[in-house]
Structures are given as C-alpha cells and as structure tokens.
Assembly symmetry: C2
Homo-oligomer: 248 residues x 2
C-alpha cells in the first residue's frame, strides 16, 4: 500500500500542473491568461517551499497585498461613479463593507478557489480566511498579467455585478426575503422557499434554494447556508420584479 | 472703499478661472488636462457652496477618497516590483510610511497647491492637512481625466522618484546628513551647510541649503525647514557620490 501510495504521489501533478488549470482559470477570469505563472503563484501556499530562479519564495502572500490594493481602488472608483451624492465618509464606509474579510471569504468560496491550491498542508487545516486570501491573490495575479483594466473587468464581473447592492449595503434594505414575504402577503400570493440541493462535503457545503410564488419558480440561488441562499433568491426575485416594473 | 471692494470682488476671477490655471496644471501634471473641470473641482473648497447642473455639490472632498485609493495602489504596485524580498507585512508597513498624512502634506506643500484653492474661507484658516487633502484630490482628478495610467505617471514623477527612498524608509539609513558628516571626518574633508534662502511668508516658508565639501558646492535643496533642507541636500550628495562609485 505504501509502495503504491508513493508511486502515486510522485507521479501526481500539483493542482496547477494538470492541463485543466489553464482552462479553468480562463473560465474563472473571463479571459485567457497571458502568463499562467502569475496564476500558478496565486495558488501556491508557502508550505510548498518553492523558490524562483533568483531564490525568492514562490507563494501567494505578496500577491494578496497587491490584490487588496487593486480591489480597494476599483471599488472606490465604482462607488465614486455610482453614488454621486455620497460624501467621503459614506464612500469609505461602503467600501469597507464590500471588501470586508467576511465578504472576501464568501467570494473566494463561491469560486471554489481552494480547489487549486498547491500546499504541503492539507487544505482542511487552513482557516476560513484562506478563501479571501486566495481571492485577493488572484486579483494581484490579474494585475501583473493584465494591468489595472484587467482587474476592473474581473472585479466588475465577479464582485460588483453579483454582490454590490448599494441599497442593501446602506442598510435601507435589511432583508430581501422580508420584502418578498411582505409583498406576497399584501398581494395575497403564496410563497415557498424550497431547498433543492445540499452537498455535505466539508469545506464546500452548498445549499440551493428555489423561490416559488403561487407555485411558479421565480428565482434560484446557491450559497453556503440555507439562510444566505434564501436571501439571494429573494434578492433575485426582487430585482426581476423591479426590472419588469421599469419596463412597463 | 466698500464700493471699490465690491466691484473688485465681483469682477475678480476665482483662482482657477484665470487663464494661467490650465498652463499651471499642465506644468504640475506633466501632461495637458483633457477635461479641466476635474481639476477645477479638485481645488474647490466646500465653503464655495457650488453645485453642478444636477444639484450635487462641487468640491474636492469626494476626490480625496478616490485619489487616496489610487495612490495606495500605485505605491503598492511599485513596492511589489521594487522589493521582491519584502513580505506582505513589510510591503504594508512601507506603504503606510509613504502615504502618511505628514508625507502627503509635504507633497502638497511642495507643489504649492494651496495657491489654487477656491474658497470663501481664507486659506490661513485651513489646518495643516489641507496640503495633503489637495494632493489626494488632485490624484482623484487625474484618475477621472486620464485613468489609472495617468495616476501612475504622475505619482512616479512627483512621489516615487523624488521621495521614495527605500533604505531610508526601512530605517537602515537614519540620516543622510550624519552619513555625509561621518564620511567627511573619515576622509579629513571640511563640510558646511549654508542657508541661502529663507522667505518668511506664512504658510509657504521655504529654506534653501547648499552643502559644500572642501569649499565646493556638492548639492542644493529646498524644504519647509532648515533641518529638512539639510537632510535633502545630504541625501542628494550621497546619491551623487554613489552614482560616481557605481560608474567607476
């Protein structure tokens, strides 16, 4: 058994060396990497003890610093343009909410970045922050590969469009679920949140929820808890309704 | 007297409306503004109570937020590239030193940005931080006018080249003045720091210093205190020596 295990681990590719790493990165990024080495670095944990040809360590920790800075300024520019009435204090507060540790962890987890980590430590021993750290490192790699505009494109697609919901961040909307329930009660409609998926694999638990109104599926969403998935589905239903109202 | 004063203040241009504002901005920026309105905003204090055509206030406060973010990420990228051995903690600490409030005030003061402020409050009533705030707002305006690359170009020219001295920031060099003195004593050379200028105008005090070694002028520098000007001159002398040594 020891023999086979040994053979296996010697011939085994690191997660990034498999041919699908490039393709998968392309899927996540929305563009083809120009220099895949930046992305390999973004997924290399310090425990691998790798060194480059100049003897400098290869791991993602420095890229986190770079990615954090780029994320901060892309979000700053977005808020500056989107909320012309917001003063400096407002903009600072909104940005902190968007780039909070908790939110970054959620972003990294949703992209399942941990799957690509090369490490000598089992990923089960990483804390919760690994998800956000990898997300920041990925943005750092994008900056090196594609410049500030590459970061803007990625952050817009993966952070701003799906997550940056200004009324909710402002606390004007506490919960889309309660808005939807309120509306259904007022309109005398039935509603039902149905859990349709729950894979219990540790470290990547996901719940899927369907929101039905009067028996019709209005929205679906997946998230790391039932509560979050319900809220996301309610939010999607809310924005779909709003779009309908706007088109009238 | 009241009559003349009134006439005068009515016909008087705001600092930015004078024809030289564009030219002067071009000198400061190193490129021609594409949309001068961004720069006018960057120098408009909230006390002017100006509104744009949508009724939003025109002043530089929101631009400070934007400029602060862009400055942070340009410096982050510079340090990332320049110090390949520096870990995340090192990079974070170095950046904090470069973008410290004190340093930003020095940068704004050196460019004499306060000269262009439109305000209903006398500039004498502004605190010390006005200099740094204007500097940040100017970077915000550059971002709107010329994008991230415009910021990079400006910050490189006005912050990185003249001020970002990594050994000094690291604390490896406490004072270039003491290095120069030490060297002169060892080499049995005479040295003399000579103050050659001291305009005492409040708010824009400047001292000029010449550093002479064995009677020969080796370096000159200007700064807001005698001590700072001496240090700057010593630093210039040090780097000039170093260049000579490297060329040998």
């Amino acid at each position: 058994m020891g023999f086979f295990k040994n053979i296996f681990s010697k011939s085994r590719h690191t997660p990034q060396e498999g041919g699908i790493f490039f393709t998968e990165m392309q899927n996540i990024l929305g563009f083809a990497p120009l220099d895949i080495n930046h992305y390999i670095k973004a997924f290399t944990h310090r425990s691998s003890n790798k060194l480059d040809d100049k003897g400098f360590p290869i791991n993602y920790e420095r890229l986190e610093f770079l990615g954090d800075a780029m994320l901060g300024s892309v979000i700053a520019a977005h808020l500056f343009n989107e909320v012309p009435t917001g003063d400096e204090g407002y903009l600072t507060k909104m940005r902190s909410k968007i780039v909070s540790r908790e939110h970054l962890n959620e972003l990294g987890r949703d992209l399942n970045l941990i799957k690509w980590v090369e490490s000598k430590v089992s990923t089960q021993h990483f804390g919760e922050n690994i998800h956000g750290n990898l997300f920041e490192a990925l943005i750092g790699a994008i900056y090196l590969d594609r410049g500030f505009e590459g970061c803007e494109q990625f952050i817009k697609k993966k952070v701003i469009v799906p997550y940056v919901d200004i009324p909710k961040l402002e606390g004007k909307v506490i919960s889309y679920k309660s808005l939807v329930i309120e509306w259904c009660q007022k309109e005398k409609k039935t509603f039902h949140f149905e859990v349709y998926e729950d894979n219990g694999i540790e470290g990547q638990k996901h719940f899927g929820v369907k929101l039905k109104i009067d028996g019709e599926i209005i929205a679906r969403a997946r998230a790391t808890s039932k509560k979050k998935a319900e809220e996301k589905a309610a939010q999607r239903a809310f924005f779909a309704f709003q779009e309908k109202i706007n088109k009238k």
